[in-house]
């Protein structure tokens, strides 16, 4: 879980950095070119297979683990421990992950499927003689729907809490026990869990509130 988790964290960094190009305030040119690079070049496409494998491994292993762990206590306590000693989000990683998964289904259908298997007609832009998908326009029109924005915000919130526990837990699983590194990882993890999902959440909000030209 730790290894695939860290792999997916690396993917999030690439994803958030690339998407941040929407804030270049140039009508989506930088963003469309960056997205075209990821979609048209061979290396990112090959890495994409690894990414899907990483997601599937992480998800399948998580459900198997959760299922095994739930069978270890057939009779539960009359008075549950609740938050005495552990954070709620560390105990509900399965649920948080499930929310992220449901969000992912919507998310892949919104953007990944059209860009790979046929953009609607007219969604192209030509920069310097190169025709690229106008994913910026697709984003803009997708996020005109308030309900889609709400789904995205819930997805980001679930991701934030998932990372809040997952980031540091991944390193513990890999055997980082040095107190100094653990303190560092904890700090970086909390920062990452706040900043990255917040940046993602600001994207649909920026489009919905028409902050972008």
């Amino acid at each position: 879980m730790g290894l695939t988790g860290i792999f997916l964290i690396l993917f999030l960094i690439v994803h958030v950095c690339l998407n941040a190009c929407i804030w270049a305030m140039d009508g989506g040119e930088t963003f469309n070119i960056a997205a075209n690079f990821m979609g048209a070049m061979y290396v990112p496409r090959v890495l994409e297979i690894g990414l899907f494998a990483g997601f599937i491994l992480h998800i399948v292993q998580a459900y198997m683990l959760e299922n095994q762990n739930r069978r270890k206590r057939s009779i539960s306590y009359q008075v549950p421990m609740g938050n005495k000693g552990s954070k709620w989000y560390s105990r509900y990683m399965g649920w948080l992950g499930t929310f992220v998964l449901l969000f992912l289904v919507v998310h892949i259908k919104n953007f990944w499927t059209p860009s790979r298997f046929g953009m609607p007609d007219g969604y192209t832009q030509t920069y310097n003689g190169v025709e690229v998908h106008d994913l910026y326009r697709l984003m803009k029109e997708t996020f005109e729907n308030v309900w889609i924005v709400v789904i995205y915000l819930v997805g980001c919130l679930a991701l934030a809490y998932h990372l809040m526990h997952g980031f540091q837990s991944a390193f513990r699983s890999l055997g980082v026990y040095n107190k100094r590194y653990l303190a560092l990882i904890k700090g970086v993890g909390v920062g990452f869990a706040i900043i990255v999902p917040l940046a993602f959440a600001m994207m649909p909000i920026s489009f919905l509130l028409k902050w972008l030209n």
């Binding site: 552990s86 954070k87 560390s90 055997g175």
Partner: protein, 254 residues
């Protein structure tokens, strides 16, 4: 602290034997001194039950000074009750107020089947220790105390891990019924000192294999174990165990 007496309502898990379904029984106990220990309060109730010709509540206890690891009660939603770093036997009734209702349950984990009432079978822990929680040394004269030099920090960390009394509160608290805090304490206290070095690889692998066989869950690092541990064993030991396990798995020569 001022002394006071209290009347309490107890809801205690009663189960005749392993096969019995079991259920909660409610008792009222009156005139309990705030200076009694929790187990002494149960003793008072048991004496009454014996006088009434009823079966007293079975519970594990031995030293009653917090070092044997026998007492094992899940009190009001927390193993060993409300105090931090305290075993049930060292929990005093001044932790409660007059009129309180206290729910007492046995450790709940399939790896710790209930034997009777509040007594659970923790022999799974013994089998984990037998799988590798020891060092093999030649017997004979005791070696001079300073023959093997150990840095003070290492000795302190090893000792902090060795403080584990194997009570099983970590398993009782864990949402996955994982025994990893126990196991990591036992592996750490030997891995941190040179005496544990020769067998460190097989120790980590064999003990974890035995733990899985006993039916404990896996660790998801929620930290509940550390919070309830009466000996305040650090969860960092689990990360050390993961490192030991990883290294052993990659480099063991068999």
């Amino acid at each position: 602290m001022e002394h006071y007496t209290m009347n309490l309502t107890l809801k205690v898990w009663r189960q005749k034997n392993k096969k019995d379904k079991g259920g909660f029984e409610t008792y009222t106990v009156n005139g309990i001194s705030s200076e009694m220990s929790f187990l002494e309060m149960i003793d008072v109730l048991n004496e009454r039950l014996v006088h009434e010709g009823k079966d007293p509540i079975a519970f594990d206890h031995d030293c009653r000074e917090g070092i044997c690891g026998m007492c094992s009660m899940y009190i009001n939603g927390r193993p060993h009750g409300p105090w931090e770093g305290t075993t049930t036997c060292q929990l005093h009734m001044r932790a409660f107020k007059d009129g309180d209702t206290i729910v007492v349950e046995p450790w709940r984990a399939n790896a710790f089947p209930v034997v009777k009432d509040l007594v659970v079978d923790r022999s799974a822990f013994d089998r984990i220790i037998q799988a590798g929680g020891y060092i093999s040394v030649n017997t004979g004269n005791a070696v001079d105390a300073n023959a093997t030099l150990i840095p003070k920090d290492d000795a302190d960390a090893a000792f902090a891990a060795a403080a584990c009394i194997g009570c099983g509160a970590c398993v009782a608290a864990c949402k996955n019924s994982s025994a990893l805090l126990f196991l990591s304490a036992k592996v750490s206290h030997l891995a941190l000192v040179p005496q544990g070095n020769p067998e460190r690889k097989s120790r980590a692998l064999d003990m974890i294999a035995q733990m899985d066989k006993e039916g404990f869950g896996s660790c998801t690092a929620t930290g509940a174990c550390e919070a309830v541990c009466p000996k305040e064993i650090s969860i960092t030991n689990i990360a050390r165990l993961n490192a030991e396990y990883g290294r052993a798995g990659l480099t063991i020569d068999k």
